[in-house]
């Protein structure tokens, strides 16, 4: 399948060169790199099963270089394919590395040939399909159908597309809702201050600040974060006012608070 004995590019005739230029100008006409490769492979005039992948890689890389020279911008996947073919080419030319893992260059080349053959086969199948007699063109259904469906006064119609579009519309509605802060999970410093003022009278001993968090705010991480921040800010405020003392024995350690004895 891989023609390793393939030699340097034969001198191109004028008409071949012109054809190659035409290919490049027509780059928008290709449906992706595989389509381009399939078109290039036709110049080899052999069965796709016996195509020279090495020669094809050369042709493709040559195409990309010419496009560059002509300052035609190629889309990313053409360049990805070029990089892969350059890699494949080097693998095909070098003697196989017995240490190398993964598929051999021949396997990769064989797969590319398979892909081209399969795409070609699907194109032919599509053409055969479209060449068949078609309803409404070559043969026809009853022009004046009478209703044979179930008796029903009203038939509600809705297509699958309607259904899916309706769902998509609902689910993406939120993306476009005017921005509103979600206050459901926010505990404010004012709330924390109110709470702590009531509780601090009982804190004669050093107590972990975390134990001050209100019920229902300790488990959900979002709520815990908000409540912790609010209570920390509130305890700083209380300390500033001289009502409590704060202690932390190590970095990221627990924050302990207690009522100032003399307060």
């Amino acid at each position: 399948m891989v023609d390793a004995g393939w030699e340097a590019t034969p001198a191109q005739s004028v008409s071949e060169r012109l054809a190659a230029e035409a290919l490049i100008v027509d780059v928008d006409g290709f449906e992706g790199p595989l389509d381009l490769l399939l078109t290039l492979s036709r110049t080899q005039k052999v069965d796709l099963r016996r195509i020279s992948v090495l020669q094809l890689a050369e042709q493709y890389l040559d195409f990309v270089n010419r496009a560059k020279a002509l300052r035609i911008e190629l889309a990313a996947d053409y360049l990805v394919m070029a990089a892969w073919l350059a890699y494949l080419k080097s693998r095909l030319l070098l003697p196989p590395d017995p240490e190398a893992e993964g598929p051999s260059a021949e396997e990769l080349a064989a797969h590319l040939a398979f892909q081209l053959e399969r795409l070609q086969a699907m194109r032919e199948a599509a053409a055969q399909l479209m060449a068949r007699d078609q309803k409404g063109r070559d043969f026809f259904a009853r022009g004046l159908p009478e209703d044979v469906t179930r008796i029903r006064k009203v038939v509600w119609s809705a297509s699958l597309l309607d259904l899916m579009q309706a769902y998509a519309r609902i689910r993406t509605k939120d993306d476009f809702r005017p921005f509103v802060m979600d206050r459901h999970h926010v505990f404010t410093m004012e709330q924390a201050l109110d709470r702590m003022r009531g509780l601090i009278g009982f804190a004669g001993e050093w107590t972990d600040l975390a134990s001050y968090l209100p019920d229902g705010w300790e488990t959900d991480p979002r709520r815990r974060r908000s409540a912790t921040a609010a209570h920390f800010a509130a305890s700083l405020e209380l300390a500033k006012r001289g009502q409590i003392e704060i202690r932390q024995t190590e970095t990221f350690g627990a924050l302990l608070i207690r009522r100032r004895p003399e307060a």
Binding site: K153, L160, A166, Y167, A168, I170, R171
Partner: protein, 216 residues
């Protein structure tokens, strides 16, 4: 007449009567309106005799399930009168499902089993009773198990006839949001700037109606 002779003849003369009969048969089958002899003749090769072909065809369909009958100036196939009962002929009115109904249906299909409260939460508006009733009546949704939560609310699920109508093997085969986007089904979404544009009429009407005051 040998085959060669007949082939030669057909270059100059009209096709044989059997062929003409086939032509008339196909035309009257496929047309939505009765066709006159003249109209038939216009489509047939030169030299044909549609009136004679019609006469043969009419005879051929005598006593069959469909008859060739005269309708005004034209001719048409009609079901034999004694078999009309098989067809349940009745005018069927096609109506498009309202936006509220299709959205509710979509939510049930994607989230089943699904309570009314959940539908309302996802749609962001209250679901009117008529909408659920309509979907139940159409037999596209039915009641599922009650949810084992306070109040034991009823749930809704989609039915076999729903799957049938939409050509689905199971509700799980509905594409997800990401797949919808990939398939280009989300392209008619509003641009962020177009918030102020009125939504389409049907919905607006309904909002005006009643319960949809809960929109946040």
């Amino acid at each position: 007449m040998s085959e060669a002779e007949s082939a030669e003849r057909s270059l100059f003369a009209a096709p044989p009567m059997g062929e003409q009969e086939r032509m008339v048969e196909a035309m009257l089958f496929a047309t939505a309106e009765p066709m006159t002899v003249a109209e038939l003749g216009q489509r047939m090769p030169h030299g044909c005799d549609p009136a004679e072909a019609l006469a043969h065809l009419r005879k051929r369909y005598e006593g069959r399930g469909v008859h060739l009958v005269r309708v005004g100036d034209g001719w048409a196939f009609r079901t034999a009168a004694d078999l009309g009962h098989l067809l349940h002929k009745e005018t069927v009115e096609q109506k498009k499902l309202s936006r509220a109904a299709i959205e509710t249906l979509a939510i049930i299909a994607y989230h089943q089993p699904c309570t009314r409260a959940e539908i309302e939460e996802i749609r962001g508006v209250a679901v009117s009773r008529g909408t659920i009733d309509q979907l139940l009546e159409m037999e596209w949704i039915r009641f599922g198990r009650r949810r084992m939560t306070p109040g034991r609310p009823v749930t809704f699920v989609v039915t076999e006839s729903f799957l049938d109508h939409f050509g689905l093997e199971s509700a799980r085969d509905l594409p997800g949001l990401k797949e919808l986007r990939a398939a280009g089904l989300l392209d008619n979404r509003p641009l962020p700037g177009s918030m102020l544009q009125p939504e389409d009429d049907e919905d607006a009407e309904e909002v005006a109606g009643q319960s949809e005051l809960f929109e946040d």
